[in-house]
Structure formats: C-alpha cells, structure tokens
Symmetry: D3
Subunit: 334 residues, 6 copies
C-alpha cells in the first residue's frame, strides 16, 4: 500500500512530571509532537507506511526531533532544515476541574517560516496514495498555506485520497489570510472530512446544533458545497471533568448515518493528541476496513490515546481491535 | 488594600514520589508549607498583599524556606532566624482505601521555640488590615501562644479583621496549656470564624450534630458567646475513599443561612492544605465579594487545591471563577 | 509461632515510571518480586516469621535481591547462589482500557536451573510449621518441581500445614511435564486450597461455572478427590477496566459457605501481586483468626495491595484491620 | 546603599541531566538566566540590593521566571509582560575534550521585541546608584539598544556608576546596527570597563596581544578614547579542557596594574555564567572594598561559580572570602 | 567469630542530587547513616557479624531506618523505638574549592533522648567480642554517655576488645558534661585508639604537631596515660580541594611505627563517612590480619569509600584487597 | 558509498544513575548497545550508511531496541525477531580506584540462539561494501559463529573489505568451539585487523610484549600468517585510575609504522564502548582518509567516547575533527 503523507509542524512539548506546574519543579520532560505528525506516527504504529514533511531547526534540537520521528519508522527524508529554531510548547497537565495549561512559542519557528524550496512535492509524493492535512498548518503562515495547497493540488491530480481535519483555532491566524476562505480553498481539494459541527458551521457560515439530525443535514450541505468530499466523520467528547471523558463518533458517507456507543475513559492520563488519534485510526481504518468499522477503529484508538503520556498514540492494531471486541477490562496476558 | 498577616510555622514537607512509601525509594521531593503559610500564599496567588511572620532556621534550609516564600511574592521581612532547626514532616500519599501517613518532627523546631524578641508586632502590622490565625500555632508552645495573642490584641486595637480557623489537633497540645481555654482567649479577639461543628463543640463544650439545623443553632450560640464574631463558615467533606472526595460549604452571618452544592473531586491528587485553601479563598472573597460569593469562592478554591501536589493552592482568581461559572469540564484554551 | 516457608523464584521487575512505555523513556525502576516471595514478604509485614527459599545469581544483582528481601525481615539463610542470572521481567502499567504488558526473561534463570544440592529441606524446615506453594514453581523446570515436591513430603511428615495456590499459567510449562498431573501430585500433599473455579476445573477436568452454587459443588468434589484438603478459598475480581476493580472472596471449609462483600478499588495503582496479597492475608488470618475472618482479612489485604506500587503488599495488620472495621474513607491521623 | 540595576533578557535554559545529550533522554532540567540577570542575582546573593529590568511573557512561563527571580530577593517590580514568548536556550554540557553545545531560541522573544513603553527609567532608577550593562542587550534589537542607551544617559545624569561588560558576540547582531558603533555609543556613557583584549580591540579597531604589557597599553588607549572610563578589569581563563580550567584577573585603574594568581578549577561543574560571576563579584567588591580586593573577590567568585549547576553564582560573601583567605581544601564545619 | 557491637545514632541524610543546593531543586535523595552505624555496616559488608544498638522513631521513618540496616545484614534486634523523631541531617555536596554544607536536626532526636531501659547490655552483648565507640555518642546527651559507659564497662569485664574513635566535635557538646573528662572516662575502658594528633592533644591537653616524630611521642604518652590502650592508628588526609584528596595512615602499636603510602583520590564522589570506613577497615583487619596489614586495609577502605555516594562504604574485602595488590587502574573483568 | 554491515548482539544495558550501585537506588536507566552495534551506530553518526543485522525478542523490549537503532538512522530491515528474550547486562560505573562492575544475562538470548533462517546474507549485503565483525559474536554460540562465517565468505566473494576486531573474552566461549581456531577461521576472511598484542598473541600462540618493536614484528608475522590482512591498528590505553585514562594508537600497514600522541582524558564519564568508538572512527577514516589520518580519527573518536554516557559514541565528524585540529579546550561557539 502507498505512503500516507502528513505535512505540518514538529513541536517540542515540554511538561513537568505528573500534575506539577512549572513553578513547582525544575525537572521536566519533553516529547515531540504536532497534530499532523501525531496522525502520521500513529498510522505508522498501526503498520502503515508514512512520510512526514516539515522543516526543523538545523541544531541538536532538530537532530533530536528527526531522531524521534525515526524511532517510529516514519520516513523523514523530506524534512527540511532551517536556521530558525524548532517550535516549542509548554504544557501543564490538569486534573478534575483544573484545566490543562498550554503556551506556544511557535510564531517564528522553523516551520512557520518554512521556505518554498524546502519541499519538493513531486519527489515527496512519489510513493504516496494519501495526503492528510489539518487546519493548523494553513493558520501558521502564508508560506505554510501555499506549500500545503500546492501539495494538495498535486495529490488530487494524481488521484490520491485527501483527508482534511480543518480544526479552526482562532488565535493562530495572524498573517492576514481569512481563515474561512483559506479552509474553503483547501476543502475543495479534499475527499474525506474529519470534523464536527463547529468546523462545518465555520466553513459554511451556518449555525447547526450538535444533534444527530443537524449533523446529518449539515453533512449533506457540506457535501453539496464541496462535491469532492465523500464522507464526513465526527468525534464527540463528553467531559465529566479533566480526568474523566467519554468518546463516541458518528458519520455520514452519503449512504448511511452511523453512530458508535460511548467509550468511558474513567481515568484520563493525557488528552493531548486524542483528536489526532481518532484521525489516524480512522484513516488506517478507511484503508483497511469499511466505513463503519473504520469509524469504530478511530473511536477506540482515540479512547486508547487518553491512556498514553505525550502527544502520540502508541497503540497497535491488536490493542485497538481488542477494545472493539469488547475487551476493556484491562486483563493482561503473561 | 492592606496586607493580610499570617503567623505560623513553616514546615518542610518531604514525600516520596507518586504513591510510594519511604521504604520503597530513596528519591523524595520536598515542598514548604504550614497551615497559616498555605493560607497566606494562596491569597497572594489570588493577587492579595500578604506578609507571613514566622521563625526559621539560620542555615541553608531556612534560606531555602524564605526563598520559597519569596517565590510567591509573600513579604518575608518579618521572619526571624533561629539556631533551632526548621520543622519537618514526612508524608506518604495514600490511595483508595489506603490512608495517607504523616509523621512530624516539629516539637523543638525554630518556630515552636520562637522567642518574643523575634516578632515586633508594631512594625509587622504597619501595612496590615487583616490577621488570620489557626488552632495549630497556639498548640505548639507557650511562646507561640503568647506572641499570637499579643498580635491579635494589637490587631483588634487597630480595628483589623481577625479570622480564626481554630482547628483542634489534640496531640499537638503538649506544653501544659488547656486547649479549650487557649482557643477561647483567642476567639474573643476574632471576628470571622472558619470552622465546623467539631470546633464549635470544642470551645462551647456542646454536642451538636452535623445537621444544618444544628449548625445554625450552634453558630448562633457561638456568636452569643463571642460577640466579636460576626460570621461563621463551615466546609464539609464527604469521602468515598482517599482518592475521591466531595466538598461543600455553609454559613451563618447573623442574617442568612446559605449552603453551596457539592463539588465532586473524582481523582484527588493531594489533599494536604485543602482546608487552608478554603480559608484563603474565603478570606480573599470576603475582601472582594459578598458573604455568599466569598463562601462559594472558598469552596471552589478548596476543590481546586485537591488537584495540586504540595501544601499550597496554586490557583488564580480566574481559575476559581471559571469553576463558579460552571466550567468544570477541564477544557483548555490554546 | 513457627516460620512460614515460601519456595519460589525471585524476579527482578523493571518498569517505566507512571504509565509510560519502554519506548518513551530510558529511566525505569526496579523492584524484586515473585509470586511466592510476595506472599512471604506480605506475611512478614504482618509480623509473621517467614523464610524464603530460592536460588539467585552470584553477582551484584543477586546481592541486591537478597538485600531487598532482608529489608522485610524475611529469613534469607536458605537462599542458594547460582552462576545463572536472576530472572527478570519487564512491565508496562496499563490504564483504563489499555491492558498492562509483561515480558519474562526467566526460562534459564538461576531459579529455573536450581540444583538439588541448593536446598537442604531438613535444615530449611527446622523452625517451620507452614509451607506455601503456587503453580508457578512446578511449571518452571523438572528440578523446581522435584525440589518442591520433596519439601512438601517432608512438611507433611512433620505435620505442617501446606497451602496451595495452584495457579495454572499455560505458557510456562515447557519442560515436558503434564501440568495437570504435576498439580495433582502436589495437591495430594496440601491442606489448604487457595484458588477458584479455573484451578478446580483444571485439576478435576470438570467444567463448573463461576456461580456460588457451582463453587460449592466443585469445592466438595475437590475435597473428595484430595482428602488432605480441608478448606477452599476463592478470590473474585470484577473489572470495570484496568484502573477500576472490585474484589470479593468466598469459601467452603467443609462446614459452611461464606462470601464477603465487594471492595471497590476505584483508582488502581498496581495490580501485580494482588492475588499473592490475598493468599498472604488469608494465611496470616488462618494462623490468627477463624476461617471467615481470615478470608475477610485476605480480601481486604488484596484490595489494599492495589494501592501500592511494586509486587509486594506493604500493608500492616492495623491497616488491613481498619478496612475490616469500615474505615475506607482514607482519613489520616496526624 | 543604593540598588544595582541590571537590564537584559531573561532566558529559560533547558538541559539534560549530567553529561547527557537531548537525543539520549527526555528528562531535562530548566533554570532561568541571562547574562545581566546572572550578575544581578549574584550581587543579591552577596547581600546587595538589586533590581532587574526586562520583559517576560505573559503566560505561566513568564510567571515562573518572575517567581524564580523573586526567590533571590531581586526586585522584579520593573519587569514588563509581553505577548511574545520568553527566550529559551538549550544546553548540552560537555566534558574533557567535548565542548558544550548551545542553541538559542530568542530572536523574537519577549525581550528582543521589548517595547519602549515597557520601561519607565525615571521610576526604575529611583533607588539606584549603579547600572550594569553588557554587550548582549544592544545586540538583540534596535528597541533593546535604544532603551538601554536611554537608561544609561539618565543614570549618568544622576551621577551613577555605569559598569560595562561589552562582550561582543558576532552572530547576535542581526538587526542592522553596526556593533562597533553601538558599543562605542554605550561606552561613552560608562565608567567601569569589564573586559579583555578582545573587547578593547573590537571597539578601538586595534590588534593588541594578550600579554600584560599590551593589556596595559590597550587599557590606557581605551581610557583616553573614553574619558568617562576610570578602571579596566580583565578576567583570563586558561583551559586544560572542558572539565579543567584556571582563572586569574588583572586590572589597570589609572594608577596601578595588578594581577591575581591563578585559581585552579580541577573539576568544572558548569561554566555558563562564570564571566557574569566575575562581573558580579567585582561590582560587589568595588562597592565595598578597594580596587585590588574587588578584583580578587571577582576572581574568586568566578572560580566558585564553576562549581554550581545553572547560570547563577549561588556563593555568599563568606564563601568567596574563605577562598581569598586560602581555604580551598573544601573542609566543612559540622 | 563474635559480633562487633556498634552503638550510636541513626541519622537520615537528605541531599540534593549531584552538586545541587536545596535552593535549586525540590528533588532530593535520602540515605541512612551515622558514624557508628557506618562502621558497623562496612564491617558487615566485609562479611563480619555486626549488631547495631540505637533508638529510632516509632513511625514509618524509623521503620525505613531499620529496614535499611537490615539490608546490610546487620543485627537490628537491639534497636529500641521511641516517640521522638529520628535525627535528620541535610547535606549539600561541594566541589573543587566549594566546601560541602551540612546542617543537623538531631538535638532532641530519638537517640539523643534515648532512655536507659531501651538498652539491655547483658542481652545485647551475648554474642559479642568487640565493641566500637566514637566521640559523637557521648557528646549528644547525658543518657547517651551513661548508656555507652555502662556498655563499655560490661564489655571490658567480659574481656572484649574496645576500639575508640574519640572524634571531638565541639558544637555537639551542649548538655553540660566536660568533653575532655567524658572522653577520658571512656578511653580508660578502651584498648584500640583510632585517631590523630587532634584527638590526642584534646584528651592529654598537649600541643603536639602533625609530624611523625610528634605522633610517636604523643602515642607513647597516650598509652602511658591510658594503659589499657595497646595500639594507636591515625589516618591523614591531604586535600588539593573538595574534589581531590590523598589518604595515608600511620600507627604505633607499642612495638613499631609504620606508615602507608598516599592513595590519590583524584575525583572524590562523597567524603562523608570516609573516616568511618577507615575505622571499619582497620577493625576488620585487626580481626583478620596483623597490625600493619590491618592499617593498610583500613587506608584502602577509606580511599574506596570516597567513590560511593552516601555515608556507607559498600566495598567488599576483594575490592579493598585488589587495591592493596596495586590494582588501581579501574580495569574490570567481563 | 556502500553500506557498512555490522552483525552482532543487541544488549539492553541497565545501570543506576551516577556512581550508584544497584543496592543503593531502584531508579535506573537503560540504553541499548553491543559491541558491533556500537560500531555501526557510531559510523552512522559520522554520516555513513550502516545496516545492523541481529535477532531481537518479539516483545515490547525488542520493539524498543529496534526503535532505538532506528533513531540513529541505522538500517534495521535485516533484524530478525525471536521468541527468546533480548540479552541484558547490568552495569555499575566505577570511580577512581573502584572498578566498574558488569553482569551479563545473555547466554540464552535472542541473539545467542539465533537461527540460520533469520539471516539472508544475499539480501542483507545487497548494498554493502564493508563488513565488520568482532570476537564477541563467534564466542556466543555455534549458530552465531556459523552465520557470521557464512556472511564473511560471501562478503569476500563480493570483494568487500572485512574488518576484524577479534577481542578475546575468555569466559564467553562456552559452547565447545576452540576460540583460537574459530578466530583463525574468521581472520582468514578479513582484510583489516583492529587489535593489539593480546589478540595477536592469542591467534599466533606467541608471546610478544607491548613495545613498539614487538608490535611491528608481531604485525608482520600476523600478516604473513593471514595474507588477506593488509593493515593492523592498535589502540593503547593507559589508566591512572577508573576516572583518568590516556589513549593513543599505532599501526602497521605493510609500508609504515606510525603512532599518535596520547590524548589525556582527565575526567572519564563512561568507558564502555570506547574500543568500539575507535573501530568506528578508524573504519570511517579508512573509507574517507589515508591510513594515518584514519588512525588519528579513530583515536580522537575513542577519546571523545569517554565523555558520553551509554555504549555509543555520539560524536560527529566535526567534533572529532576539531580535536585533531588541536581544539581540546572545550570552548563552545554561541
């Protein structure tokens, strides 16, 4: 099977251990992540072939980032090096009614200031049959938007699947481009829509509610507006508090509306990257199963991610499948 | 607004990481705390001006203690230095049905053996308009009791508010003074009572139950006995087990009885200092809001404290207020 | 009271901290454990006299193992030294629907390759009145089986109590011996049976269900088949998921069937060794209380073990008794 | 005595523990530092009154930075907050012939993008009698240069001492200003020159050697060119390798040339901030002792700093003085 | 061979990791130690039978202390439990010219306030043939002095060897007893003197220099004054700085003066307990070798101790002997 | 340039932090290594293309091992998976006169029990032009020897360079094969000899001394006996103690004898893998420079490795070259 291509920023995440705040301890841990990279690595952990495209710093931090991605057998050969520093984010994990805190240092990072010459899409896509993008990348800079769009155009020309997770994060869009217009340009090049009512309302300028009925109508309107989009998948989170979530998913694929049951995550370890885990599980599923099973697989992958520290879903296909088969009691084989 | 003054012992808390016991690992962590200091630092974290008065050791441990208090912008200029060592306590965090273990090394500490010359109340109170005391300080030694009483007398002469948290901890009272008499002397100098049925029964010699009806009658009797007391606030904890608590509060301010709803703390991180967090939130609230909102603020502050490691509530006004506005799902802003 | 003898492998357990996987961090922790040793140390923590018999490596890892056992005041004077390395297992702690992972490196360990000359049963049993064995030891090698059987024969000759926890772990039995036959030979030398329907079905070749009715019939059939067995104790685990378990126990002692209520372990810390904690609590109980109270004690001990990191139950008699008296709210004395 | 004012960037330093590289472990430690801040905190550790002026981020990292500076009793009341992130640097500690590695992420930091309104020099200098600057600040941005120059002009108008450490770090100067011209403008406002042959050659455009003879001639030429400069102090490092350095100092104060003996640092712990420790010791010395003793004090302070992890010299006056009295055997009093 | 008895305080040592100070990190490590215990454990590590007598707290810290001593196979059956807390000391490790810092919290500890009923010397000495004491124990309290003296009297009555390390630490002697008189009383009960010119001058009131000539004269005068003393051993430390020491030893046994060569400890890891390591090596040596070889063994043991973290010498007889045979290149066998 | 092939065991190395022993702390660190892998990764760190061939366990430890090798961009596609566990070694780092301790658990590991079908040499060598082997692999098992020999035969048939580091470690050879004969068989297939007098004496049965004269004669005799060998390189270590080494190298390439100067490693961090670093530097050098410069490069690489924790040399070509250019003062560029 061909490679899945992800294109996006590699961020260094720095956090205190356990539930501590930075003011409490000078011992911290780092991982690398980034929404598109998280998707890529998770697919690689499921055994898929993945290439991540990015621009990282040309110092020992950039070396460590590439080395980290190599660990997971993701192809790093198209990652450019830059004299700008790698983006960083600081993260304090919340608990119960205390929300997590996050602070970004990314606005002039190696990726935000990526240069056109750093990505040769013709070469990068040579083994690919799927490209995944999110709403983060086009929010970062004109260059990031332009390069992404160029890649999607080529991918569509080659007939690849293009999955879109057009998360809209308002405070990232600082370079002048109108977010709605940008996302519309990119959705016109996409075939799978991973997102919910918020994202649909954003691009359609509508005001649908979270009900299943509205989801169905909104999805249909979305697919009329963007005829290339064939399927819409939505992950729904219900939170008791920071430490206790429930996850389910729903879909409209032009033929049927389906919904999964809630998965109950009674003791959340780390919720960063759980949306990416859903996207990764879904993409893996769509490449291997039917639409409904793919959505179930994504939903279970998303739930499992809540149990891993760091941005990345470390689950294997077997671990996700076990949940789908109802093995959620946590028994272990010796 | 004037300074809030707290007077009490600074303790070094030493604990293994996670749920470990001392017998399991020789790597441990320390924080500084102490019931009155916890109140002071929490108020400072809410933006209040606070001075803490104490006596710490004149070695590098005392230096570290002062440095720790400085971190939180609490005025340390009235802290005396002593040739006696700083008090220490060892703490093993429990879980589920396993209770936490605590062991004190404080009976001959720098604070227990505080000398009268170490506190100059006239100078210490120069910017103050509020003094807070607890039942721990008068339990430690005759000197601690005498110095506290002297300070309260001066505070009342200057018309300051005096809040009392007359926690009664039986096994601390070893220097000969009768606890009941001591607390009565100090309550006569107090205007806000922070405590529940146990504390009221202790000083009145009564036998009221935990019911709201009894709380109301007991509060009235307390305010008759101590006419300076204008308000009574009580925090109520319900425990499923060591890891799962609920918190609510109730009050009688001479005019109305009010009660808050339970806050459900499904995953307790550290319960030390949660009573102090209630007192701090309440005091901050009384200085900025009406009585009921102050109690609500104290109750939410108390609940939040259960999510921080260490003795001290690190929450800000915004974080507490978010809970009061019903945002307990733990969503985070990026 | 005489010594309790445990005979079995000492394993070094190596795990990442918190919920991490080996791929995520190169900082790990080790403890020593092993099913029979866990039972022995837990009984010693209750104040019982215990000797553990084993064979450990003659290097600094073996030194560390013996030193670890010494910590708990368990007699190590009958532990032999071997040129083979100590057995190791690697462990990743799961959470919620993620199961824990375990991987053993024990098949040629110092204990699996134990030599007959390493155990002098006459000397080893000189102060003993109780021997405990489990289904792990006879599964490891012919020598381990033979030495165990020899010890049980001598113990019975001397009229000692022999408790059996004939856990059947299929993938350990690699040396050619038929598991069922082996367990039957050893059960013929046993007086207390600690195990459930699975173990009974295994040795009887029956197919009883988990119902209390079947448990009663199965126990009776077991005691007919093995007339030396006087009592049957069974611990039942119900799992919400990896992080949330419930524990109860039931018994048939030839006279009465009894069952305890469920203990609700809402936040599991570490489930390794919880079965051993049940056995240890039960054995301690049988030596000090009546059968039902012994079972209750074992059940509460088992529940408590879920709150300790590592293989070993660190609870004291007082801590277990507090639970039996209904103190499960986790309040702590200062 | 008046406050010493330092003005410069606060950087978060992140490093692996021990001699590790980022590629080897995801557990790292952070400290805060920055060349001018290091000088300020060290003077505060000697008991001097110090205010540090800067601009830090308005997030929890900026909070942690201010809290860190508060620890050392340095006045943080003139530190502005910015929506830009705090500068960060990554650091790998070398050993023997392996040099340390450093990588900066500071070019768009809260301090590099400091705004004129963030510093009110009239208010900031109200208690001051000394201002210290280094060649780092003017290298960062036009705003940083302008604000610094404005402060120095006011300081000189008020007759304060201005000490200059005009370290020239070539690859920092990216905003267009000519380094030589910038430093000349600032040196015209300075009275104490802390720097060596390299710095003199840079601003004079000369080519003096490291010999004492050349140092004397160069110093005289410097003082002729910049008549406000009254004294020149130079610290000389001799390196066996990364782990073994020697430090001595020399001076020309218009009247006498003096030189200290080498201090032999046989086991370097951390060399970052050792130049700042020299400047801090020297400034403290010049405010309390004669010129030669000040230089000796600076030199011993510099040597001691090599024994502390992090950017900051934690030594007290007593600890430095002990070295000056020849106590370098490391004996400790119990 | 009989047991060696050590009697003295068990202290909990708490230190930051590496070269850090308490002000720099809240992660610290603890070990247990105490000068007499260090001697005892080291002898046990050489394979000797040892019993340590003390009084520790009756809490989980006291449990951890006993458990720690058990690790090393030292008999803890004569250790009493007390309601007073265990003594603690805080320690910051120096480097190069920075001395280590130490701060004690022991003046009202479980051992300082030991009660006569806690030690039953008749029972304690039943398997003993050697008692070792140091100048620390009699300095702590009248009870500690009295109990020690009582034990030495009994030991001498039974004809045991009594070794004395009468270290004089001035600031410990606070209970009123004259140090010189106390040490004289105890030296009259001793047979082996481990100490140098300082200790001899202290008890004789003389003023000898460190020269070998003076050592010889002083030793003779000591042995005339205290006729029970048969041998004098002195360890001499030369310090380049905190990180680089040299160790040698000399002796007078009434027949011959001997001296060892310097052992060069180029990279000191931890110097606490190195004197105790000398005493332990010497005592082990005197029980197994001739006087000169015993002194060499003690000297090499002392040198080796500088390479272990914590108070205790972990070296084995083989490791010490290897040094005596000239193997100091650090080669290891695989 | 073609791939360098390394074939050998992947070991998990587990060590306490700093200078601790296993008995002192239960927090440990792991790295992966193994003599041939160390060579391979180091060459990859120099930018060379490398494939490592091995057999690792089919569990999460094997996954972590492969992931670790991937980090360094070494081709893992020819690594087989086995049901046997990965080999482990435990390591305690010595200091000064204390040697390091090492203990292996490898005799039945996934690699020792490697099966012929796990290595397809035709496929494995398809991009290769160099094979490196050491004396460890043939010592482990008949299968390991046979597979290695088969690979060397094919490599020679294809005209590849074969470098040999025939380290002789006596206590590994337990499967019956005569070490001398085995090494002779393999040396007949080798073209570069990396080893010293000990190795030459072993295979020739001679008794040469360490002198340069003897080295020259021995090398000539070696090359006569094994005509395929074209060059002999020897690395010489001089140890002051465990913490202070010196390294130099010498060579005979059939034309000239050359020798490098000593490199002085005054503060050894970790000496494991320093021989492998020499081999890797030498091999990299021979592929890029002349023989003498290659030896110098290997020697400097070896010296640098002493400054990295773990088995692997993390140095880059630039870092090694800097040393060759005399930059050993540890200065770093900012």
């Amino acid at each position: 099977m061909g490679q899945v291509i992800t294109f996006g920023e590699v961020l260094m995440r720095i956090s205190p251990r356990g539930k501590k705040k930075f003011i409490q301890s000078n011992v911290v841990e780092f991982f690398f992540g980034g929404t598109e990279l998280n998707v890529g690595i998770s697919i690689a952990n499921f055994g898929g072939k993945v290439k991540h495209i990015s621009a990282v710093s040309s110092d020992f931090i950039g070396d460590a980032a590439i080395s980290y991605i190599n660990k997971f057998n993701v192809d790093t050969s198209s990652i450019g090096r830059s004299t700008r520093p790698l983006g960083v984010y600081f993260f304090e994990v919340g608990a119960v009614m205390r929300p997590s805190n996050i602070s970004y240092n990314r606005s002039h990072s190696s990726f935000s200031e990526i240069q056109p010459h750093m990505v040769d899409w013709n070469e990068a896509l040579v083994d690919a049959n799927w490209v995944h993008w999110t709403g983060i990348t086009p929010a970062l800079s004109q260059n990031a938007f332009d390069i992404l769009k160029k890649g999607l155009i080529l991918a569509r020309e080659k007939g690849m699947t293009v999955s879109a997770d057009p998360t809209y994060r308002q405070n990232l869009w600082n370079y002048g481009k109108d977010p709605k217009e940008a996302l519309i340009e990119l959705l016109k090049l996409s075939t799978v829509f991973i997102g919910g009512i918020n994202e649909i309302n954003e691009v359609l300028g509508t005001n649908y509610s979270y009900s299943n009925d509205d989801f169905l109508i909104a999805s249909k309107e979305l697919m009329e507006t963007f005829p290339s989009i064939e399927k819409v998948f939505d992950k729904i989170r219900t939170s008791v508090n920071s430490s206790w979530h429930k996850i389910r998913a729903r879909m409209w694929n032009g033929k049927e509306f389906r919904e999964t049951a809630d998965l109950d995550i009674t003791h959340v370890v780390d919720r960063i990257g759980t949306g990416d885990a859903f996207a990764a599980g879904l993409i893996y599923g769509l490449r291997n199963y039917d639409d409904y099973k793919a959505m179930e697989f994504g939903s279970a992958a998303c739930a499992l991610k809540h149990t891993y520290e760091g941005d990345i879903n470390l689950a294997t296909v077997k671990e996700v499948s076990d949940i789908l088969e109802g093995n959620i009691s946590g028994r272990f084989n010796r």
